[in-house]
Structures are given as structure tokens and as C-alpha cells.
């Protein structure tokens, strides 16, 4: 059977068994769902809705915002893996799936009878993806991996902070968890492509340590080449001038000059003799003499209002951006016309805004559906398996 449809998305026809908790696993499957796969998200039948997604605050009509934001584009399935009946049902369902996804701690899926060997034997085409904090080959194997832990342990914080101050943690849990989820989704897509050629599934392993290291790839590369990055406010590590400047009206504007061509355009706009000094002639020289360069530019930007700079930087073709927030983003044409926020009308939680989808496909648009009522599709799926079994007899 072919994969992809105009109405559902490029992964229409793919089915995912989503045995995931917290944020990492759910993030992978929410994207597979948005791309068109049918995702069966497992919860315990006796789950207290206030404890879904570990009850991460705030709640919306009693349900954690985590559950609502991380489980869009899925169907709800109840399974109690402590009972033989549900265990059997799980195995029958997984036989109909293309992908098995889990992010329990090392050893937990095996204990529940959902280890790779067992499932691959029952369904040789199955792609079995497991996300963990630390993999399973070292002293940290059984440590808990969350976004905060991984921010701290992968040096994610080490180069961010105000100029000359100590490094600081990012006050939002997102990038480490979600990047790990993104790597799961990507690796699953790779395994599906390989299956087109080999006809066989395989095992996919993704760790939060890998994701965290790769996110900071430019910083690690600089460090390992002998240039350890330090917190430097809004200034870039790779190019200059590339930082936020305060304008006359106290607002900020973020300048992002990353090529020689853009530098020339800036020089045509800001005609200050000192900027033509040989020590600013190339990007590498500007990065090495960043403090001197910024000392010239700070008072220049402070002389005019933000809207002046927006007007002239735009005209000159110099890259820039301005700080925005939720109240202007939600109404902003750039967001609306690209669909970068989606308002979901949910049965139990009112209207909720979520980000994405992040891709635009010309033929197979991605879609967004609200998180399911937990377990909502259980009877339907039980019926489906019962019919399959009846046909086999």
C-alpha cells in the first residue's frame, strides 16, 4: 500500500503504537500524527486526568497543559498492561502497526513484555523506537532524564547569559525534550524509507544526551577547536555585528549581519568613518574586535527610534528582527498567514492555541487535531482486532 494522501498528509497509511509518557515520546508521535500517521496513544484506564503528563502546570479544565500540547493528532487508547487480556490485545494491535514508540526507563518495556526481540518476532516489519536519557551502556543508564537535567548535563546553559555574568539555565522546559522527540521522529522516517527497500523493520535508539550535544554542535565544535564560548548577552558567537541594540524609545532591535555583503549594506546605511577601519574589514576581524565594533554601534542605534531602524534596515536589506510577545504574535499576519499557531476547538477543554505545524507541504498538507479524550478509541480498536481474529479463523 502506498503512503501519503492529499487529505491526511505524507504519512497517511502509517500506524504508530504510542507507548509514551512525559514529553519526549509524545513529541515524536505528535509530529508523526501531524504528518498523517494514525497514532494510538496509550494511557492507563484508571488514569486521573489531573495526573496526565505528570500533572505539569497549569491545568486547563483540570488537565495538564502538557497532555493537551504534546498529544495533538492522536487517538486515545486505554491499556492496562497488568492484565493478561490487555497484554494480549496490545500484542495483537502492535501486529497491525508500522511503528512502536516508547520512552520508559531502560528495562521497563521488556518487563511489560514489550521488548524489541519479542515484538520484532511477531511483526518483522515493525520499526521499534526507544528514547532514553542516556542509552544503556554506562554508569548513568538508570538516571532520570528530563529537560532540566539534560540542560545542565549537556552544557546547554554554559554559553548563555548576560554579558560578563555567570551562565544561566533556560527558564522553560522545551528544547532538550522536544529535540530528542524530533530526532525520534526523523529516525523513524529514515527507518520507514529503509523498509521500502528491505521490507524489514529495525530498532531505533535515540538518547537525550545525543540530542543535547547535537543542539549545541556549534558551541562544542568551537570549544573543541580551542575557543570556549562564554555568555555574551545577545551577541553572536560566529559573526558580527550580530546582537540586539537599544533604540531611542528604549525598544530593542536585533541586527543579524552574517555575510560580507550584508556588512557592506550596513555600511551604506550607517556611514561612520571608524567602521571603515581595517580591523573591521572581514567577519573574522569583526568577531575578534567585537567589543570595539559594538562600542561604535551602540550609540548610533540609541539615536533613533525602533521604527526608524525597522524602516531603514528593511530598505537597505540588512537582516534584523524585533522582540514580540504572545499578545502581538497571536494576531500577527506573519504567524496567521503561515499557520504557525493553530487554534484547536476541543470537546473538554475549550479553545486552545498550540504552535505549528512547522512544515508546509505543497501536496500533502500537515494537519492539527486536538489531543484525544484518554482512551476514546479503545472500543473501536478492540472491535477491529476482534474482526481480524474472526477473519483469521
Amino acid at each position: 500500500m502506498g503512503i501519503g494522501s492529499k487529505d491526511r498528509g505524507p504519512l497517511a497509511g502509517i500506524r504508530v503504537f504510542d507507548f509514551t509518557v512525559w514529553a519526549v515520546g509524545p513529541w515524536a508521535s505528535l509530529h508523526l500524527g501531524s504528518l498523517g500517521a494514525e497514532v494510538l496513544h496509550v494511557e492507563q484506564p484508571d488514569v486521573d486526568w489531573s495526573q496526565l503528563s505528570a500533572g505539569v502546570p497549569p491545568s486547563i479544565n483540570g488537565t495538564s497543559v502538557g497532555y493537551l500540547a504534546w498529544n495533538t493528532n492522536k487517538r486515545g487508547l486505554f491499556l492496562d498492561m497488568r492484565t493478561d487480556e490487555d497484554k494480549r490485545f496490545a500484542h495483537e494491535l502492535i501486529k497491525t502497526c508500522d511503528v512502536f514508540l516508547c520512552n520508559m526507563r531502560v528495562g521497563v518495556p521488556e518487563r511489560l513484555g514489550l521488548g524489541y526481540e519479542e515484538l520484532a518476532q511477531e511483526n518483522p516489519g515493525l520499526i521499534y523506537c526507544r528514547a532514553t536519557g542516556f542509552g544503556d551502556c554506562g554508569p548513568r543508564t538508570f538516571e532520570r532524564g528530563g529537560d532540566g537535567q539534560l540542560q545542565a548535563m549537556t552544557a546547554f546553559w554554559a554559553a548563555q547569559g548576560a554579558r560578563g555574568e555567570a551562565a544561566e539555565v533556560y527558564r522553560h522546559y522545551a528544547h532538550l525534550d522536544f529535540s530528542t522527540g524530533n530526532n525520534c521522529a526523523s529516525a523513524i522516517l529514515l527507518a520507514l524509507l529503509a523498509r521500502k527497500r528491505t521490507g524489514k523493520g529495525q530498532r531505533v535508539d535515540v538518547t537525550m544526551l545525543d540530542a543535547g550535544a547535537t543542539l549545541s554542535l556549534p558551541r562544542f565544535a568551537e570549544h573543541m577547536a580551542g575557543f570556549t564560548p562564554q555568555p555574551q548577552g545577545s551577541s553572536s558567537f560566529v559573526s558580527a555585528p550580530n546582537r540586539a541594540f537599544q533604540c531611542l524609545d528604549q525598544r530593542w532591535i536585533g541586527l543579524s549581519v552574517t555575510s560580507q555583503d550584508e556588512w557592506q549594506r550596513l555600511l551604506r546605511l550607517i556611514d561612520v568613518e571608524e567602521l571603515r577601519d581595517a580591523k573591521f574589514a572581514t567577519n573574522k576581524k569583526r568577531v575578534s574586535n567585537r567589543d570595539d565594533l559594538e562600542a561604535i554601534l551602540v550609540p548610533v542605534f540609541a539615536k533613533r527610534a525602533q521604527s526608524y531602524w525597522v524602516f531603514y534596515l528593511k530598505k537597505a536589506g540588512v537582516p534584523f528582527g524585533i522582540p514580540m510577545d504572545w499578545e502581538n504574535l497571536r494576531e500577527h499576519r506573519q504567524v496567521i498567514e503561515n499557520g504557525y499557531l493553530t487554534e484547536l476547538h476541543t470537546p473538554a477543554w475549550g479553545d486552545i492555541w498550540v504552535g505549528g505545524p512547522p512544515w508546509h507541504f505543497s501536496k500533502t498538507p500537515a494537519h492539527m487535531e486536538p489531543a484525544p479524550i484518554p482512551g476514546e478509541a479503545t472500543f473501536e480498536l478492540q472491535d477491529e482486532i476482534a474482526k481480524l481474529e474472526a477473519n483469521e479463523k
Binding site: G161, V287, G321
Partner: protein, 381 residues
């Protein structure tokens, strides 16, 4: 064993961080990636400080597993007519292109089997679609910088090029999804942007802001908090979460924090459920620091974890690289560049049991492989 994308050919008409990172991942997965550059090369070749000798290290790690072909015209719309580019595109499965660098409609009309991924700063539609942007602009406009620094002061940039790295992750996914659907749907165009990728990453925030039962928790109030620098034990910087501690009083007694129990803020301290992200963490931080400074990291970890909390170290770049677990995993790798100088890099961030990723060649010199293509003048198609 071969890579998952063995046999796929990719042309990369893209520079900087995001597009080349897509190319790096496709290359790691086994695809043959040819990078097309103008005579001055990818702008990232000239990034970094003057003191670093040679092509920038960031360029090198973003462009491993690729070959480089130089075309005469830096503005590739005219290069579209050029021999080499036509030849490359006619043999390719995937084109990665920065917004505005090629007439994508014309390319797709000429090469109907080509999946085209367009990378932009702001997205394909809307009033900003053709404006130049970049990493800091995308971070500021998506309000991603509001989780760092102090209100009213200079914004703090995220420690790494997150808008670009996330746009790359989504570009990679988009290309793979389009390749999966190609038999049924034919080739198509997929657009990703730096701004849109960060908008996606803030989704928990948007949902929290839209309709919360009560205005509390780090998704809603981290904006207004001061910078969080971690907690200080005697011998090192650490971080902790205590949300699952059953008996906080007992834990604080074990940590010899009787002084805190007499402090008027003790109720806040004992109800703080989540380390630095807790509702009151910024108000009680000094109590923790005073308590923890009595212990070494190992001692503090043992006490707090025996009560159900979690303690972990804040590692800097070198400490992460030297971590025993990280070394056993083989996370950091090295290989020689074209001049025999060692490049230190990071392994691909996924493991596929049957179709492993691989690093097969270092980043190319500018135009290193132009001749391989220049001498082939039998244009297909």
C-alpha cells in the same frame, strides 16, 4: 550494512546553519550530498574569530559528508542555466535551497521528480516572507529570549543556534516524509522557517497562555523571574528537582537546614516543587545555597535522593566531553580534514540497528569537487 539513504542524491543550495544542517543529517544517513557554492563560498566559511586559522570550525562540522562544487554566478538564478547545476539537479532526488536563491517553480517544472525543501527565516507567506532574518531575529520575534535574562535589560541570546537547529530538524523530517510519499503523491515542495520552528517549540507556552485554570507554574511565570544560575555545593555547581520528595521537613533536617525552618519563607521553600523552576525558587534560592554549601556534591546528592529528589551536575563543555558515561557512549568523534588536521565533532544523534549512519568524509574545500562535474558535459534530460 549501508545507510538508510544510500543511493539518494541531494543538492544543497544553502548556506549558514539551517540548510547545511539538513544536508549534514541527510549525508550522515547515507545520501550523497553535493553543496553548490558561489565563488566566495558559503558565508559560514568565514565565521568565528580571526585567531582560528583556516575555514571556520562551525562550517566544517555542518558540512561533513559533502562535496563542494563552485558555480560562477553567486546569484544562482543565472546559474540555473549553467551546465553543472542542470546536471546535478537532473540526477538529484532532493534539493535544499535558501529562500530567494533559486526560482523554485521553474526548477520543479524542469525536474518533476525532485523533492525541494525551501528554508527561510520567516516562512513562505505573509508580509515578512521575503525579508532577510536569521538566528537572533527569529529568537527575538518568537519571544524565545523571554526565558533568559532580566526584564528591561539587553535580551540574552540562547546559547546555541536553536532556531536554525530546529528548522533543520523540521526540514530533515519534511524531506524524509516527502520521499516516503513520493510513489503515491509525486515530488513536492516543503517549506520550513527559523521563526516557524521556534513558534512550534513554544507550543506548551501558547497552550498555557490560552486558557489556564489558574495562573501558575513555570510555563506562565518564568518570564518574570531573574536568571537561574544553578545551586552551589561545596565543590561544584548543581541543579536539583524536589517535586517528588515525600517529607520535605525530614529532608531539610538531614541537610542541616534548621536555619531555614526558622525563616519566614520556610513554607515557600517546603512547597517548592521543582528546583529552579518552582513557583518560589527565586525567592528561596539563598536558603538552598546556604544549606548546600555545607556539603560536597556527592553528599548532597545522596541526602536529597534518599528523600526522593533528584540531583545532577551542571557540566561545562569540557566536563560533558570528559564524563565517563559520555565517553563510553562514544558521543564525541574525530577525523582528519583534507589537510590531515584533526576535526573534533559529534556523532549522528540516532542509532538505526540495520542501516547505520556514518561519517565518510570531512567538509570540502571550496570547489574541491568542481572538476568531477565540470568534465561531464553530457547533460541528461
Amino acid at each position: 550494512m549501508t545507510g538508510a539513504l544510500d543511493g539518494y542524491r541531494v543538492v544543497e543550495f544553502s548556506e549558514g546553519t539551517a540548510g547545511p544542517m539538513i544536508g549534514r543529517m541527510l549525508g550522515d544517513a547515507g545520501a550523497d550530498v553535493v553543496k553548490v557554492e558561489g565563488p566566495d563560498g558559503d558565508r559560514a566559511r568565514g565565521w568565528g574569530p580571526e585567531e582560528y586559522d583556516g575555514t571556520s570550525i562551525v562550517f566544517q562540522v555542518l558540512n561533513r559528508n559533502k562535496r563542494s562544487v563552485v558555480v560562477e554566478q553567486a546569484i544562482p538564478n543565472s546559474a540555473l542555466g549553467s551546465h553543472i547545476v542542470q546536471r546535478l539537479l537532473s540526477e538529484a532526488d532532493v534539493l535544499i535551497v535558501d529562500n530567494g536563491q533559486l526560482d523554485v517553480g521553474a526548477v520543479m517544472a524542469q525536474h518533476p521528480r525532485l523533492v525541494v525543501c525551501v528554508v527561510s527565516s520567516w516562512g513562505p507567506n505573509g508580509p515578512w516572507s521575503d525579508l532577510p532574518g536569521g538566528e537572533l531575529p527569529a529568537q527575538l520575534s518568537s519571544e524565545s529570549t523571554s526565558s533568559l535574562g532580566r526584564i528591561g535589560e539587553e535580551p540574552v541570546r540562547l546559547g546555541t543556534e536553536l532556531a536554525s537547529m530546529h528548522a533543520a530538524a523540521y526540514g530533515f523530517q519534511g524531506v524524509l516524509a516527502a520521499l516516503l510519499a513520493i510513489d503515491e503523491m509525486g515530488a513536492q515542495r516543503v517549506d520550513v522557517s527559523l521563526f516557524g520552528s521556534l513558534m512550534q517549540m513554544r507550543t506548551t507556552m501558547w497552550a498555557a497562555l490560552s486558557n489556564p485554570d489558574e495562573w501558575r507554574g513555570f510555563h506562565l511565570d518564568s518570564y518574570i523571574k531573574p536568571p537561574e544560575h544553578g545551586y552551589t555545593a561545596k565543590d561544584r555547581l548543581m541543579y536539583l528537582t524536589v517535586g517528588r520528595v515525600a517529607d520535605p521537613d525530614e529532608m531539610f533536617r538531614a541537610l542541616k537546614m534548621d536555619f531555614a525552618m526558622e525563616d519566614p519563607r520556610y513554607e515557600m521553600l517546603r512547597n517548592d516543587r521543582s528546583g529552579g523552576m518552582g513557583d518560589y525558587s527565586h525567592l528561596t534560592h539563598d536558603l538552598w545555597d546556604r544549606g548546600l554549601s555545607q556539603f560536597s556534591y556527592d553528599e548532597a546528592k545522596e541526602i536529597i535522593e534518599s528523600h526522593g529528589g533528584w540531583v545532577f551536575p551542571c557540566l561545562n563543555f569540557q566536563e560533558m566531553i570528559d564524563d565517563e558515561h559520555v565517553r563510553l557512549m562514544g558521543l564525541f568523534i574525530s577525523y582528519p580534514d583534507n589537510d590531515g588536521k584533526i576535526v573534533r565533532d559529534i556523532r549522528p544523534p540516532w542509532i538505526l540497528s540495520d542501516t547505520p549512519a556514518s561519517v565518510r568524509r570531512p567538509a570540502p574545500r571550496l570547489g574541491q569537487h568542481t572538476d568531477e562535474y565540470d568534465h561531464r558535459d553530457d547533460i541528461a534530460g
